[in-house]
């Protein structure tokens, strides 16, 4: 290495040889030559423009490190002289390249500069003292680059913030990328994320699906048809449902970059939809039941009304007839009494029906009030059975009572009588011509009344339903009634803290057992 200063004819006086001078004056890249101490010896016109000085004389002789790196000391990008790339080229003789140098011009404007520093070598290839610098203004590139970085950051943030799991499979490379949501949704293990292998990911996903074959067929189809979009619902073994959408990933120029998969967990939405459909069905069923009830109720009220109207008009007719025939044909007092009794019976039947209707309203709104008193259930059972013996006999039912007493407890007398009446009335209605047995048993805490008929019985499927409002196990074209008797019974029994059960089989009669605690449960 020759240790001498620049020789004339090379860069002496900052004048390169004629051809080199023309080349250097023509190019857009700034070129600066430094002496062995780092002072500027030459700058081409592009360098004068880039460094923002008025002429080459403002550069020549000045320390280049000072020019390029003159910054306030607090600037974190400031180089010390030792770290300066120029110094490295000068002292160590190694070329350096700094892709991003911020340069502050004398007028205060800053530009981004791509800076290369080369140790000087002579024509013979020998190292010479000094260095050459090229400087390129990359401010515009930097801006684009920054914008791109910002866009990518936005896209990444958007993808991470998405409630959809996003999985991208880049075409040939099969390079995978997931967003965090996709990893959470599928529970993708770390080794698959690290491996970025679409094969591993697919195998992992498949074992989570209810129908892996269908999914696999879809995936294979889509990879064979890269232009197609597709969407469907996939069912996971753990009960979740994902809405799956897949679309080709293409540049605006139409270059295929692979495929993107979106997964949205719609389990809750689907459950809500199902719940809504269920509620809608229930509401429709309730409306239908109410309509049925109204039509049955009007039918049921018309039947005793028919008897009442015929019976009273018949009495009036007979009275009128006797009036025109005179004193001689007075109506026998027994006849009048019998007819009036008949009318009163019909009136009680009607009022019982109407009471039932009012009960529905009271029970439906939870306004059932119990008037409890100390009473003997055995006595009450015998009383109610006796009261209905005639009606049961009209259905051809012989009724037997086995109620060894006393069975003391604190109950609502009228409501209990209503429970027994409804059960006996059903026994007569559905057990025509067959015996009915009423039994009472008790233990320390509760009393139990069973009403057993030997009628048409209840199919297992209907055994719960019959206690619902407006429900009945048989067609209303065959059996009249509101379809409310057992519902009323069960509501009253529940209000008394008791329970009702049924034991029956089709054609083998039915046995209803009401269990009543001796004391009302204390209100909460």
């Amino acid at each position: 290495m020759r240790s001498r200063n620049l020789t004339p004819g090379q860069l002496d006086g900052a004048e390169p040889p004629p051809l080199a001078a023309e080349v250097l004056a023509s190019i857009g890249e700034a070129v600066v030559a430094l002496d062995g101490l780092g002072a500027c010896r030459y700058a081409n016109p592009a360098a004068v423009r880039l460094l923002g000085v008025s002429g080459v004389d403002q550069l020549v002789g000045r320390d280049m490190h000072d020019i390029l790196h003159a910054r306030p000391p607090e600037d974190p990008a400031a180089h010390s002289r030792d770290e300066c790339p120029i110094a490295r080229a000068l002292v160590r003789g190694s070329a350096t390249h700094i892709t991003h140098e911020v340069f502050r011009r004398p007028d205060g404007a800053t530009i981004d500069v791509d800076c290369r520093a080369y140790p000087l070598t002579g024509a013979d290839g020998e190292r010479m003292p000094g260095a050459a610098l090229t400087l390129v203004d990359v401010t515009a590139y930097r801006k684009v680059e920054e914008e791109n970085l910002f866009r990518k950051m936005l896209l990444d943030a958007q993808s991470e913030a998405s409630i959809e799991g996003i999985l991208v499979v880049a075409g040939d490379t099969k390079m995978l990328s997931f967003n965090r949501r996709a990893v959470e949704m599928w529970g993708v293990p770390q080794h698959i994320i690290d491996a970025r292998s679409d094969e591993l990911a697919l195998a992992y996903v498949l074992q989570k699906l209810v129908d892996p074959q269908a999914f696999l067929a879809k995936v294979e189809y889509l990879y064979a048809h890269p232009d197609e979009e597709s969407r469907d619902l996939i069912q996971l073994k753990d009960g979740r449902t994902f809405d799956r959408y897949s679309a080709p990933l293409r540049s605006p120029q139409g270059v295929d970059h692979g495929r993107v998969w979106f997964f949205r967990d719609i389990t809750e939405m689907k459950q809500a939809q199902e719940e809504m459909a269920h509620l809608y069905d229930e509401a429709r069923r309730a409306v239908r039941a109410r309509d049925d009830f109204l039509s049955i109720a009007s039918h049921e009220l018309r039947t005793p009304l028919t008897s009442l109207q015929l019976a009273t008009q018949s009495i009036v007719r007979q009275v009128k007839r006797r009036q025109t025939e005179g004193e001689a044909s007075q109506l026998p007092i027994e006849w009048v009494k019998e007819r009036i009794d008949g009318v009163l019976d019909l009136v009680s039947q009607l009022s019982a029906l109407i009471d039932n209707l009012l009960d529905i309203s009271r029970l439906s709104t939870g306004r059932l009030e119990l008037a409890t008193e100390q009473l003997d259930l055995a006595e009450l059972v015998r009383e109610v059975v006796q009261r209905h013996a005639e009606q049961l006999a009209s259905h051809g039912c012989q009724v037997s009572v086995d109620a060894p007493g006393p069975a003391p407890g604190s109950w609502d007398r009228l409501r209990l009588a209503q429970v027994l009446t409804n059960l006996l009335s059903n026994a007569g209605k559905y057990g025509r011509g067959k015996p009915v047995a009423v039994t009472l048993s008790q233990d320390a805490g509760a009393a139990r009344v069973t009403v057993r008929d030997n009628g048409i019985g209840i199919a297992p499927a209907d055994r719960q339903r019959i206690f619902e409002r407006f429900e009945r196990a048989v067609s209303s074209s065959q059996y009249s009634g509101f379809g409310l008797g057992l519902w009323i019974v069960s509501e009253i029994v529940k209000a008394m803290g008791g329970s009702i059960t049924v034991d029956s089989a089709l054609g083998a009669g039915a046995s209803f057992t009401v269990t009543l605690p001796r004391q009302l449960p204390s209100p909460k």
């Binding site: 039918h299 019976a311 008009q313 065959q478």
Partner: protein
């Protein structure tokens, strides 16, 4: 004239309807036969009963009124007996002809109207 009077056959599962109608008609001097099921009505007809009028409820346990209308065709002499539906069902006004009945008596009914039907067929 009384000698030519024919009976009314009332087929109805409701005991109070049966007892009321039989009392009312008996007071007017009509003979009433009662059946609490359609099957029982068919049995009486098959046994040779020739009423002037059959009053038929539609909703009954066992055979319904409509089934009764079908089955009575097989009983000699029964098919020609006029049948009136005696029902609280709203659709009876449109239904009776299709079922092969001669008419219908609504529930409830005014006594005069009721007796007019009986008079017309049994008198």
């Amino acid at each position: 004239m009384t000698l030519t009077r024919r009976a009314v056959l009332l087929i109805d599962d409701d005991p109070t309807i049966r007892s009321t109608v039989s009392r009312v008609l008996a007071d007017e001097g009509w003979e009433v036969r009662l059946a609490d099921t359609a099957q029982e009505g068919l049995t009486q007809l098959a046994g040779g009963l020739q009423p002037g009028l059959i009053l038929l409820d539609l909703t009954m346990p066992g055979l319904t009124g409509a089934e009764f209308m079908e089955l009575r065709q097989d009983i000699p002499g029964a098919a020609s007996v006029p049948v009136y539906l005696f029902t609280a069902m709203r659709g009876a006004a449109e239904q009776w002809a299709a079922l092969g009945a001669q008419g219908f008596v609504p529930k409830p009914v005014r006594l005069e109207q009721f007796l007019r039907v009986v008079e017309q067929h049994c008198g």
